[in-house]
């Protein structure tokens, strides 16, 4: 870890001004991933702008019925907030499925979205990685890649995004609120994270110096039945082999809208649009769920050692859909 200057910002403007889009500046939230990466040498900032004390620590209802969660709200507080528990249970459940109690107490909403892949080749400076060091190659593609992507990967990168929270946000049609020196903007979470393509070094659409100020949870998905399910190698404190977040809107035995997002399968939370379209307007049934999810996963391109993820993701999604549909889903 190289020596760095430390600046504590008390306002968003102070923070973005201090950062000024410099390549060697980083915002520090909870630090649970950034400090980890700095110790590994993957991140080597010369200036840290501590944004953890910005006045962005509220979860509040907005006049249009949506809910805004500030960027510095800690994961445990977001999971426990009544507005989240009651209106967006899938978000609460996804958060609680991730990391550990200690880490959730520290990790922030903004930082969680910006956490980087846990690909072991990315974390090891002694190995090639196109994400960490463009042009060096991908050690994982022909290496140890059981945990890697089956959807949307590229020749250059097969990493997955590790967040649980982001998967729920993707299914909820949440938006990311960003503030840069040039102004504010929002982006759907589903468009915030990128697929690797030929620029795997770029994880998200965030501009240099832009700061996540919050996450907007839309009124449209508030209160809908939702659930999160995650499969992992140990019963707790492990990243997902695969996970699924589902928000299901059924009325009069007809699927008005299904929102399905997968975790652990791709470089970003994978919104299952094909499956959603297949289900929309139809009757919920085990068969319909299976067909819809299979249609989505037919695009999967598993690697040598991770084809199990396709079956796992299908099982998880069908199981959650079935449970959410309840008696409405006939087998």
């Amino acid at each position: 870890m190289k020596p760095f200057r430390y600046v504590r910002a008390y306002s968003v403007e102070e923070a973005t001004t201090a950062h000024a889009g410099r390549a060697n500046s980083r915002y520090l939230g909870g630090g649970t991933n950034l400090v980890d990466l700095m110790k590994l040498g993957v991140e080597r900032p010369e200036r840290l702008i501590d944004v953890s004390r910005l006045p962005l620590d509220a979860v509040e209802e907005l006049p249009d019925g949506s809910v805004r969660a500030g960027a510095t709200v800690r994961n445990s507080d977001l999971a426990a907030h009544p507005l989240v528990r009651e209106r967006y249970p899938v978000l609460s459940r996804a958060l609680l499925a991730g990391a550990s109690g200690q880490l959730r107490n520290v990790a922030t909403t903004g930082g969680n979205l910006l956490q980087r892949t846990r690909c072991p080749y990315f974390q090891d400076l002694g190995k090639p990685c196109n994400k960490r060091e463009p042009g060096t190659g991908c050690g994982a593609r022909d290496g140890v890649h059981r945990d890697h992507a089956v959807l949307g990967h590229s020749r250059l990168c097969i990493a997955t995004h590790p967040s649980d929270m982001a998967v729920a946000l993707a299914a909820l049609d949440a938006r990311v609120e960003l503030q840069g020196v040039r102004g504010r903007r929002t982006l759907p979470v589903t468009e915030f994270h990128r697929l690797p393509g030929d620029r795997p070094d770029v994880d998200t659409e965030i501009e240099p110096g832009e700061l996540i100020t919050g996450v907007l949870l839309p009124a449209a998905t508030a209160g809908l039945p939702s659930a999160y399910r995650k499969a992992r190698d140990r019963a707790s404190y492990a990243f997902a082999l695969a996970s699924v977040a589902v928000v299901l809107d059924i009325e009069d035995s007809v699927v008005r809208q299904a929102r399905i997002a997968f975790g652990g399968l791709a470089h970003r939370p994978w919104r299952a649009r094909h499956a959603e379209r297949a289900l929309q307007g139809g009757a919920p049934s085990d068969e319909a769920f299976r067909q819809a999810v299979d249609a989505e996963l037919s695009a999967a391109e598993p690697l040598r050692d991770n084809s199990f993820k396709v079956r796992l993701a299908r099982n998880l999604a069908c199981d959650v859909l079935r449970r959410l549909a309840g008696p409405a889903s006939a087998s």
């Binding site: 870890m1 190289k2 020596p3 110790k39 040498g41 846990r118 072991p120 090891d124 400076l125 002694g126 190995k127 050690g139 022909d142 290496g143 140890v144 059981r146 399910r229 499969a231 992992r232 190698d233 140990r234 019963a235 707790s236 404190y237 492990a238 990243f239 082999l241 050692d305 991770n306 084809s307 199990f308 993820k309 079956r311 796992l312 099982n315 998880l316 199981d319």
Partner: protein
Amino acid sequence: MPDTASAVGAPAGRREGPQKVAGAARYAAEHTPEGCAYAWPVPATVARGTVASVDTTAALEVSGVIEVLTHLNAPRLEEPDDATLAVLQDARVPHRGWYVALVVADTLEAAREGAAAVRVTYDSEPHDVTLKADHPDAHVPEDEDGTSGEHTRGDAEDAFAAAPARVDVSYRVPPLHNHPMEPHAATAHWQDGRLTAHDSSQGATTVRDVLAGLFALPEEQVTVVSEHVGGGFGSKGTPRPHVVLAAMAARMTERPVKLVLPRRHLPAVVGHRSPTLHRVRLGAKEDGTLTSVIHEVTAHTSRVKEFVETAAAATRVMYPSPHARTTHRVVPLDVPSPSWMRAPGEAPGMYALESAMDELAVNLGIDPIELRLRNDTRTEPDSSKPFSSRHLAECLREGARLFGWSERDPRPRSRSEGPVLVGSGVASATYPVVVAPSRASAHAYPDGSFVVRVNATDIGTGARTVLAQVAADALRVPLESVRTDIGSSDLPDAPLAGGSSGTASWGWAVHEACTRLASRLAGQQGQQLPPEGVGATADTEGTADADSDYARHAFGAHFAEVGVDTVSGEVRVRRLLGVYAAGRILNSRTARSQFIGAMTMGLGMALTEGSTMDAAFGDFTEADLAAYHVPAHADVPAIEAHWIDEDDPHLNPMGSKGIGEIGIVGTAAAIGNALHHATGRRLRELPLTPDRVLTGGL
């Protein structure tokens, strides 16, 4: 009169417990002498080759960096017996992760940054790190210890071919990592030519001897302290590079130096359990009586030294058959050096044998407990020696009763709860009685107190406590009046805490010293003791290590109930039960904790732990605790440990067998057998993770 001669067996509380829960117990890196510097090692990034150049310029420019040790400037060491300790002595890189430099700095932060700034280039050579059973370099190792080679009885192949019932199966156990919670660490300090090292070690006497040898010092000039040790599980059983590096750095910089190995380095430099490839053939009569047993094991070793994971050894102990062959083969590869990990040999070996026994039971339609009972014996199959005691059958029967085995429907896939298939399994366990010579002293003081001194190590077993119990009974005094001094090489020499031999070895010497002291005190009846007290010593060389006419082993039985989620492929243990026959249990409280702890590690071996050798890069991909999954709280259900008291006069004065390792032996097989019972599918490769279960187990 106090209730004497009753300390042994009692559930005495750990003597260092109050310090440990208060955070006051100090471990190796928690001694910071005045002026202490910090070291950070630099691992090689090629799998095989030589260091072509080391550029330390940038590292030395890092603020706070004092020195960079490389093979070019590091102090020369005498040649060690264990070649893994010849650190920074030449340019050779025998495996990825081998240390090629060490940065010493005023602070931890500077040392880490300095290490990142060292530029090393290599002349790399083609490497081979892939273990295959048919590898051309696979060979039967020289059998110096009588264990690691091949043993045969009769004609196992012909007998197998002729057997009416046959099982011919292959299993694979992946590389496994010890990962004690305390990473390997040392603080070294030279003063007036004397070396003092606080080391995280399972045996400070050996570390003292080895350091003295490496630095060409008389043993009296070296003190190694291992007062509290945060686990070892074999990986701290031999001196490790960190203590040598710390001593070298301290000598070179003339400052005390502290070195804590980064967690990610451990898989490459502190040993690991070699992967093992097993082929097991069991031939039996229709009634299940074994007629032929063939267990062939292939393991890897490094090019630095030969270590053999003796996974076929337990097969020589377990079940009689007129014909048998047990063979170890080892393949030298460009991999980190494997070494001891809890029950080396027995843990993977009994996974294979006990899984195969279950397969035989299923094939024959015989209850798996009954099959084992039908193959019980009073003599050790391999040596024909009588067992000093063997209560395997009692363990199986008692376990069956406690577990409710009779209620089990033997049909696979006969029980489910929603999408979860439930099954149960059983496996036997065994571990040899190992004992080594030790010295000890005992002193009585005028105030009525007693002090026992022995360089035992408490790696979590409760050595201080159990040795005080042994001493109190030998002296016939109350437990509270005895203090135990352990954990320093300035105390009487003692063997390591390993091989489930510590308590027996140290306890034997303590018992002897205390018995002598007691008789000396009896001869002084009524007289006031001198202020310096009265003492006695003991050395069990020649007695503790004498050959026995008996085969001495502990036995046990493991029972597991698992739930297999057919949606996710996740396997969770719901119940785990172990029953052991391990001689006399000296402290029921700490013994229970050890049994449960080892079963937990066996649970990890079965379900969560696995490491992958990266063929392209030559290292273990799962290098940290996020990727290498030791079981977490949520993985571990209620675990019960029980035992059958044995009265075995052929062991040691306490009548004890070792208990630290048997708990892991057989646990993985019981869980794998339970998975088969739950699903009807047999998985023959560990760990039983969702990927394997979904693709082959449902």
